[in-house]
């Protein structure tokens, strides 16, 4: 582990915190009194500042400090949450992300544009620091600057002190220590402090005072009774020497006299200490801080001045007092930070590559396991069969938990849209509210990553084209603010993500005329199109929406790219719209990209895998067959189009005719189709292997897998088969009509 690793951790942590901060900022607008949210925002800024300081990223610290100071005033209710403030804080958030990226690039100097931006935002933020508020808040701006001074003092303290002219032998610091009785119990070791003191200079002389130790009978071994008189040769400042005893200063009597201090101070010291005056005087002389002559005159002076006992408090290092004021000021600034953070304890970060590797290995394990199963069955040894079965059950569990490792909730992706919706609605001048449902739905990490872009496009599209302007909405009897909904749920082995709005809906006529104009469809076919088909035309390549392009949704990425992206994840997307009611884009994605439960079927000599989640039932073909010509079955009164796989893949063996064919009914979305096969070979775990480029144009298959026997088997692409079945049906109907 080195600093680079630590910096990586800091980056990851920082980005997470900024994301939390952004989400909290977005929710604070609607709920300005939520203390937990305010605290969460504050804590994010605070933690970033803390860690940045540790890495010496002073630039980041300075900027975050201003943000934190403003947030602190918000927390103290001295500054009210306003749209302006939230906007400013959001831009601070963005700027912090930029600064993080700057850190990630490892550049030494902040670029001019970043520096200018920092200054600009800081200026704006400082307005909130200077605003006077009623009552207790008046001191705040002074406080925060004091705190800043305190902070810079911290930094200064680390720099080597300016060399002072060499001290003469006589010029010694005198340090008088009486440790409190409880220091040992608090884990403080007096010797340790003295040893540390020695690092600041040379200890010239040290006297240990044991006067306070009681009789053995009364002595408590856990109590500290010792005191020390030390003379120190050091070029350090008084503050630095005081700093040594910082942790015991409250419970102990510590007096530090500078080499050039006045005799009166010695007198006060002697008086303040519990030991006998004369004895102390001797000690001081022995320590070399005081000469005999000085001591005598001092004692005389003390007697002549009478009983003007100086309270110890006054002696206690003036500088220290000043410091504590600075500290107190800062205290008012910082109150308890409430922890509402998700427990990090139960999380570990894992490299995504490692997970991929694990999944690959699990895939190999499944294939190897299946091979072993076959061998065991062939051998016919019942105990061997039993043990391989146990093994495969375990492998199955390993598979599920390995796949589960890659599952993440879609919520964080959804939450990102709060910001998008906020920004875009401001840009468009529309009041649009986002509702999120099913944020806890889990799906594969790769899918989550890749779905963000298409989703953004759909969301922007809905906001730009879907939701109408306020006047139009009011005229249509709708609420003035538009609603956008993101919804996710599981359905039949896939995950469904819906982006819906309550806007004007898609105008079928406009789509149709445009599609005809672009030559995508003919006027004849237009007449036969269902509503759904019409809506889905927007995903066709070449269906440019050029005359509607604004700087929002028309960023050079068309809806066809959205569909392509989703299809590359083995998913589908479709549009649904109700005129005047709104539009919904429904994305359907596979749960995982790696391993599935498959259903193995045989057609002639070949075998195929159907994803088990999509299988509804298996029925006997002969029992439901109506006629040989039509491509549908009458399944319990329901029309079911079917595909004969041997015909579809043209694997028909003329000499072979299966006596008993079966129909596997599969479902995808709302559509069902039957696949006619020769043999049903049962379920088995399928490791999906992608097909090579050569297979790009081949329909009906989505990948391949390897059986335990080593045979390569194709995985059926059910969505495309369903699509083809529809076309097939259409063609047969036409043939029937012409016949």
């Amino acid at each position: 582990m080195d600093m680079d690793d630590a910096l990586q951790t800091f980056m990851a942590e920082g980005h997470e915190l900024l994301e939390d901060m952004e989400n909290a900022l977005l929710s604070i607008e609607s709920d300005p009194d939520n203390e937990d949210t305010i605290n969460a925002i504050f804590r994010a800024a605070h933690t970033i500042k803390g860690s940045a300081g540790l890495f010496g990223l002073n630039y980041l610290v300075t900027f975050t400090h201003v943000v934190e100071s403003v947030l602190d005033r918000v927390r103290a209710r001295e500054v009210a949450i306003s749209t302006d403030l939230v906007a400013l804080l959001l831009s601070s958030c963005d700027h912090l992300t930029d600064l993080m990226d700057w850190v990630a690039r490892g550049e030494d100097d902040v670029s001019d544009s970043l520096a200018r931006k920092s200054l600009g935002i800081e200026e704006n933020l400082k307005v909130f620091l200077d605003t006077p508020v009623a009552g207790a808040g008046e001191q705040v701006s002074a406080d925060s600057s004091a705190a800043e001074d305190g902070h810079s003092a911290d930094v200064d303290a680390d720099e080597p002190p300016v060399a002072e002219p060499a001290l003469t032998e006589k010029d010694l610091w005198h340090i008088s220590l009486r440790f409190g009785p409880d220091v040992l119990r608090h884990g403080m070791d007096p010797v340790s402090f003295i040893r540390y003191l020695a690092t600041l200079g040379t200890i010239h002389h040290i006297e240990t005072l044991l006067d306070a130790i009681p009789d053995a009978g009364n002595m408590d071994p856990e109590t500290c009774y010792t005191g020390f008189e030390i003379s120190l040769h050091s070029t350090q400042s008084k503050e630095a020497i005081e700093g040594v005893f910082e942790f015991v200063s409250e419970e102990s009597q510590i007096h530090i006299l500078a080499p050039d201090c006045l005799q009166e101070e010695y007198i006060r010291l002697i008086k303040a200490l519990p030991e006998e005056d004369m004895k102390l005087g001797e000690i001081l002389v022995r320590c070399g801080t005081l000469t005999h002559r000085e001591l005598e005159s001092a004692l005389q002076q003390q007697q002549s001045s009478g009983n003007s006992l100086q309270p110890i408090g006054e002696m206690l290092v003036e500088k220290n007092v000043v410091n504590s004021e600075v500290v107190n000021a800062a205290v008012r600034k910082q109150k308890t930070v409430k922890e509402a953070r998700p427990p990090e304890a139960s999380l570990i970060r894992v490299d995504a590559d490692k997970l991929d590797n694990l999944i690959n290995l699990v895939g190999e394990l499944i294939i190897a396991g299946a091979g072993t199963n076959i061998l065991a069955l062939r051998s016919g040894q019942s105990d061997l069969i039993e043990s391989t079965e146990t093994l495969s059950r375990l492998v199955e569990e390993v598979r599920d938990s390995a796949l589960n490792l890659r599952m993440v909730q879609i919520g964080s992706t959804f939450n990102r849209f709060q910001r998008v919706v906020r920004d875009v609605s401001q840009e468009l001048g529309k009041d649009i509210r986002l509702t999120i449902n099913g944020g806890d739905t889990e799906l594969d990490k790769t899918v989550v990553e890749k779905i963000a872009d298409p989703l953004t496009h759909l969301v922007r599209n809905s906001m730009d084209h879907g939701i109408e302007a306020e006047e139009v909405r009011l005229a249509a009897g709708k609420p003035a603010h538009g609603s956008l909904m993101l919804n996710a749920y599981h359905d039949a082995g896939s995950i469904v993500i819906e982006v819906s709005d309550d806007g004007g809906g898609i105008h079928k006529d406009r789509i149709l005329s445009k599609a005809i104009e672009k030559g995508l469809i003919s006027e004849n076919s237009a007449a036969a199109m269902t509503d759904k088909d019409i809506f889905n035309l927007v995903f066709e390549p070449g269906f440019s929406t050029a005359d509607q392009v604004s700087n929002l949704s028309g960023r050079g990425v068309g809806m066809d790219v959205v569909r392509r992206n989703i299809e590359s994840l083995r998913g589908t997307v479709e549009m649904d719209s109700q005129d005047g009611q709104g539009t919904m884009a429904r994305i359907r994605l596979p749960l995982t990209l790696a391993i599935i439960d498959g259903f193995l079927v045989g057609v002639n000599q070949s075998a195929y895998v159907i994803p088990l989640d999509m299988v509804v039932e298996c029925v006997e073909y002969g029992a439901w067959k109506e006629s040989d010509n039509s491509h549908c079955l009458n399944l319990r009164g329901e029309v079911l189009p079917y595909i004969r796989l041997s015909e579809y893949f043209e694997t028909q063996n003329p000499g072979h005719s299966s006596e008993r064919e079966s129909v596997v009914v599969v479902r995808f979305g709302d559509s069902k189709v039957g696949l006619v096969v020769d043999r049903l070979m049962g379920e088995f775990q399928t490791v999906i292997k992608p097909l090579g480029k050569l297979f790009n144009g081949v329909g009906g298959i989505s990948g391949f897998t390897i059986l335990g026997s080593g045979d390569v088997v194709l995985i059926l692409d059910i969505p495309s088969l369903i699509n083809d079945a529809g076309t097939l049906l259409y063609q047969t109907d036409r043939q029937a009509m012409t016949a």
Binding site: M1, D2, M3, D5, A6, L7, T9, F10, E13, R43, H46, T47, K49, G50, S51, A52, G53, L54, F55, G56, V61, A147, G150, H151, D154, D158, V183, L184, R185, H186, G187, M188, D189, S192, F193, R195, Y196, T199, V244, E246, F247, V248, E250, E251, V327, N328, A330, V331, K333, Q334, K335, T336, V337, E339, R341, P342, P343, E344, A345, R349
Partner: protein, 122 residues
């Protein structure tokens, strides 16, 4: 044998940097992400110094120090609290619980090292 220091903080990056600094200075470091984790990791083992944050999920620093000090094995173990720019109230609470030393966040590794050096020898 090098002295063992336990670092308790919910920020992994902070723990890492502190650990690097402390290891560089010749100490052994045990990390824990909150009070609960720290107590279960200590479990009677010898530790020479504990550095703990105040604000942590699951079990905060103050509760942790109180629990720690209940165990006779750690009665004399010094504790450095990591406070935010001097949360006076928290500092007092920490002191009452038995954490007498503190370092104010944000700090630099050297500041932490000097606080540690005041309390224990490498």
């Amino acid at each position: 044998m090098a002295k063992n220091i336990m670092v308790v903080d919910d920020s992994a990056s902070l723990r890492q940097v502190v650990a690097i600094a402390l290891k560089g200075a010749g100490y052994d470091v045990t990390e824990a992400c909150d009070g609960k984790d720290a107590l279960s990791k200590l479990n009677g083992q010898k530790v020479h110094l504990v550095i703990s944050d105040v604000n942590m999920p699951n079990m905060d620093g103050i509760t942790f120090v109180k629990e720690l000090k209940k165990n006779p094995s750690y009665k004399f173990t010094p504790v450095i609290m990591l406070t935010t720019e001097s949360q006076e109230g928290k500092k007092k609470e920490g002191q009452a619980a038995g954490a007498r030393a503190w370092v104010v966040k944000p700090f630099k590794p050297e500041q932490m090292l000097s606080a540690v050096a005041k309390l224990i020898m490498p």
